[in-house]
Every structure is written in structure tokens, then in C-alpha cells.
Amino acid sequence: MNISQAVKMAAKSISSNKGRSFLTMLGIIIGLAAVIILVTYAEGQNLAMKAYYESMGTNTITVSAYSWGMGSSNVGQQLYDYCLGMEDVAGVAPNGYGGSRMTISYEAKTLSRQRNYGGMVSVSGGAYYGGGSDDHYPQIRLSNDKFGMCNDYKIAKGREFSYLEIQNLAQVCILGADTAEYLFSFADPIDKVITVNGLPFRVIGVYQSKGAGLNLGTAEESQWIEEDIKRQDRLLLLPSSMTRYFNNNQAIEDYTVKVKSADAVTKVVTELNGFLSNIINTNYGGFYVDNPQQWQENQNEANELQQRFLGGIAAISLLVGGIGIMNIMLVTVTERTREIGIRKAIGAERRSIIVQFLIEAAMICGIGGILGIAVGYIGTMIVSKLSFGLVMIPGSAITAGAFIISVALGIIFGMYPAIKASALQPVEALRAD
């Protein structure tokens, strides 16, 4: 018996047992589709996370330093001056925060926040406070001409502060994308004057949305990323010297340091730690140098773990599909023992029986594999559209790999029952019902 006849015979056997053949295929279809969808989903998630980290800014270090008591000088200013002298540092921006009770107005629109008991906050201009997206109250930051560079905000309209504006307490401000849109709708905010606690400030610039160019969609994780982007777009930036008016002239304790290259981040962190431990007596102050690169690395590791975990689940489902095939093939052999007896009685060699069963198993897996790829592609497109807002196509390597695995599983798991069936004595097989 040649191979083409064996293939025809296997096709005949599969088509004459459509229900059973389909159930067997179902295991492979689900297993394969799961592998394709899960692996592509994990890849998409990594892409989204990477884009997010890049939007947060790379090569930045946040530093906090404070001191009090007798003889304490302004450590923030010393830190600032020290950083300016470091060769690997591209820029330093203070990160001052405005007071908790500010009222921001432009014509009829007002953004304000008042503390209620229980810590609840009410917002006029938004419905109520709940951490939701209706809360347009911005974070009020006090910084300098390097704020955009250090925090990866890009100017959409107008310009950054100038050095002189900082020094001279110029009453100018820059708005985040959300705040500008809320206060001015479609009008051009540049050179308009808003009031902050009654003081007039001229708008000189508007930042781009932090989400510009990011594709995040609606997955659970990308939802908090989106929330975070909105939070970052709710911004009112005032010159750092305004701490005099808004923060009881408290020293700014937080700084964002932009390092020139990723390689230098660790070195700068070490140097900053050394410098701060020299100037700050920890009995009368403290400091903290945060290395976000480390955090990102941890996140990457966690993502990789998650990808491996998803891959593992997918592999298990494929394995279960394979065991399903073996199970069905065993049942098939038992069910068709008499047929095997007949075939042997009329002259089938052991090899012919093995080849027939193997081809049958491989064909079931092959057809199941093709259907599984189809389901996997459609599933991936739907899942990626729903989760990331873009249609992803599974990679050809993962598709080919999964297909080969499914057919190989059919052959491996089909082997045992085929060998078992072929070893039967014809007379024993003929006795079976």
C-alpha cells in the first residue's frame, strides 16, 4: 500500500466519523488558538508598557532632599547647584507643589478644590471628586525652564519659561493639555491671562498631551495608564520662584534630574547619594534618590515573567489537546479493533496499519491546526482591538511553530495507539465486537 492510498483511506475514515473527528480537532483548535492569542496579547501588552515608559521620560532621576533645625541651609538649592555642575546631567528641574487651596479662573470658568471633612474633596467645574475623569482640577507645579525637558513634556503652543522669568518672578504660566482644553475650549490660550488665587498669570505655553502617539486601548492595565496620562495632562506650571506666594516660601524639596545617557544613570545616582549624605545630617533632615530605570527593569522582568506564564498556560492547553488526540485514537483503536482484524485477515501488514493510523492522526491535527490558526488570527484581531485599540496580526514564526507542534503532537500521540493496534493477532482482533 502506498502513501497516497493511505492518505485516501485516512481521509475516508475521518469523513465517515465526522462528529468524533471534529471533537478531536477541537482540542487542537482551542490549544493552538490559545497559544497564538496569548502570545500575541503578551507581546502587545509589552509594546504598550514600553511606549508608556517612554512617554514618562527616560533617563530621569527624582531626588528629594530636606533638612530642618539650627544651621540648616537650603539643601534644595545646594542640590540644584551641585547637579548643574555634573558633567552627565542634562538639566535639573525643581518639582514644587502649589498649596492645597487654589482657585484658578478664566472668565466664567473656575477650578477650585476645598477640603471637606472625611477627606472628601469637592470640585466646581467637575461633577464631584471620585478620582474619576470628571475631576479637572490640575496639579499645580512650581518649576523652571527645564521642566519640560526633565519631565518629557513637549510644547504644543507657545514656549517654555525663560531663565529671567524665573529670576524675576514673572507672572507667567504654562498649561497641560487637559487644563488648557478645559479653560479655553477651542480658543488659543497664548497670552490670555488667568488668575490663580486672584493673582494674574499670562499663559505663555501649552504642553502636548502625554498620550500623544500612544496606543493604549481599553485593557485593564492600559486603563490605569490612560488615567495616569490624564492626570499628567491636568497641569498648571508656575515659575519655581512663585513658592514665595503660594507655599509660604517653603524650600522646594523635590527635583527631577535628567541624565544625558542611560549608561550614566547609575553613576549619577551614586554621586547624588554621596553628595547628599555629606551635606545632610540625617538627624536634622533626609534625602531620597529614586532610580526609575531600576523600576522599569523590574517591570520588564515582571512582564517577561507574565509572558512566560501565559506561554506556559498556552503550552499546557496544547498538550491537553494532544492528550485528547491520544485518548480519541485509543478509543478509535478499541472501537475499530474488528476493522483492524479484517484488514489484517485480508493481508494488511503491520506497517500499513501503523501508517494508516498515523496519517489519520496527522490529518486530524493538520486540519485542526489550520482551523486553530484561523480562530487564533480572528481571536487575536478581536482581542488586540479590544485591549490595545489596534489590530495585531500574530507573527509568522509563532504561527508556523504552533502548527508544526500541533501536527507533531498528532504523530507522537497517534503513535502509541497505532502501534498497539498493529500488534494485535488477527484472530484476537476479529473476535472483538
Binding site: M1, N2, Q5, M9, K12, S13, S16, N17, R338, E339, G341, I342, R343, K344, A345, I346, G347, A348, E349, R350, R351, S352, Q425, P426, V427, L430
Partner: protein, 231 residues
């Protein structure tokens, strides 16, 4: 001598309390072109004998020469070739493959011989024609009566032009008229020179053969013409 059996035993559970001697020292010689009935009660060992004669089973002890070849020495593969080329089986339960049509069932042993599609079609047509089943070529076993299925089984047995036809109770599941028809086909094949070995428990059917071998408790108790064995 086509079939030469000497001192043949088939013992199940040998040495145990439940030992069964299905064949207990059989000597049997059959010449080419003979029509032999093997007759006996249920459990007399006649089916076991046919299974061994047909190379479907192996004896526990004894010699079996088929056409001069010592069958007990052959490999699995060689036995498959003998079953394929030398022997045609007709079973009581027809033993057709349910998923295949009449023609496909008849062609199956030819496929195992590696015969090309044209010759296969020719031979299966001739075989189905011979048993008057050609018009049912495309029917599946479930679409045929018992007698029709048995005729297809006969067509399958003769398609390979075997030198021996072994029929195990071929009429057992058929009504008497259909049974007679099947017997007529067997006699026709015998007239063409095929050796026929017919296993039956029915004296009337056995009596149509020129030589009758009677088995009882795994032993041959008589062997001769109808008159000699008293049928």
C-alpha cells in the same frame, strides 16, 4: 499437497487448571482443488482449526506446511502476504468494513497487494459480477441485506484469485434460500479449480462437499466421503 498438518496442538492456559485443548493432535492433508467440509459441534475446535489453516492464529505445537512452506517459521509480514495472496476468507459475520462501499471493500486486499487503480477496478468489477452484486458496487454494508453482504464478502475473497477459499459458517446467518445461493457460488469456484475449505455445524451443508472431516473435542474422529462418514 497444498495443506499438510502434522500433530497440531492449540492449547489455551497450558499447564493451568483452566487448560483447554482446542486442537489436540491433528493430522490433516488437503490436496489442491479439493472441496473439504470440516464439521463438528460447537466447541469441537473447527473454528480454531480454520484460524490456524488461514494463518490468522499460530499453533501451540505442531507442523503446518502450506504449499511446501513451513508456516510456523514465518514472520508477521510473511504471514500477511500469505493471507493476502493465497487465501480468501468468508466469515459468518461477513466482516465487511462499514465505512467502505461494496467495491471499496472488494478492492481493499488488492490495495494491500499494491495493484494499480485500473486493474483494481477491473478485478473488483469481475468479482462483483461473479456474485451478481455489480449493480450494488457503491452501496455500503449497512445498505445491503445479509445475503448481499455475504456475496460482497465472497467477491472480496475471490478478487485476489487465491488458491484456497476458507469459509467459516458462510451460511450461518442467512436464510436457507440465500444460503443455497452462497453454496452454489462456492461450488462454482471449486469447479474453476479453487480449493474450498468449508467450516459448518450443519450436516446438510457439509454433505455437499466431496470430503468431510469431522472434529470432536479437538480431535479428528472421521475423514472421508459422505458415505464413508455416514452422512
Amino acid at each position: 499437497m497444498l495443506i499438510d498438518i502434522k500433530d497440531l496442538f492449540k492449547i489455551y492456559n497450558e499447564g493451568k487448571e483452566s487448560e483447554v485443548r482446542a486442537l489436540d493432535g491433528i493430522d490433516l492433508q488437503i490436496d489442491r482443488g479439493e472441496f473439504v467440509s470440516i464439521i463438528g459441534q460447537s466447541g469441537s475446535g473447527k473454528s480454531t482449526l480454520m484460524n490456524i489453516l488461514g494463518c490468522l492464529d499460530i499453533p501451540t505445537y505442531g507442523d503446518y506446511h502450506l504449499d511446501g512452506t513451513d508456516v510456523t517459521e514465518l514472520s508477521d509480514r510473511q504471514l500477511a502476504h500469505i493471507r493476502n495472496k493465497q487465501i480468501g476468507f468468508i466469515f459468518q459475520g461477513y466482516n465487511l468494513i462499514p465505512a467502505l462501499s461494496a467495491r471499496e471493500n472488494v478492492e481493499l486486499p488488492l490495495i494491500y497487494q499494491g495493484i494499480g487503480i485500473d486493474e483494481r477496478h477491473e478485478r473488483s468489477e469481475a468479482a462483483l459480477e461473479r456474485v451478481a452484486m455489480f449493480d450494488r458496487s457503491s452501496h455500503k454494508p449497512s445498505e445491503m441485506s445479509g445475503g448481499q453482504q455475504q456475496r460482497v464478502a465472497i467477491a472480496r475473497a475471490i478478487a485476489t484469485h487465491p488458491s484456497i477459499i476458507m469459509a467459516d459458517e458462510p451460511t450461518g446467518a442467512l436464510d436457507s434460500k440465500t444460503g443455497r445461493h452462497v453454496l452454489e457460488i462456492l461450488h462454482g469456484l471449486h469447479e474453476d479449480g479453487t480449493t474450498i475449505i468449508l467450516i459448518t455445524h450443519d450436516n446438510g451443508i457439509a454433505a455437499t462437499a466431496e470430503r468431510i472431516v469431522r472434529l470432536s473435542d479437538g480431535k479428528i474422529v472421521s475423514d472421508g466421503t459422505r458415505e464413508e462418514v455416514g452422512l
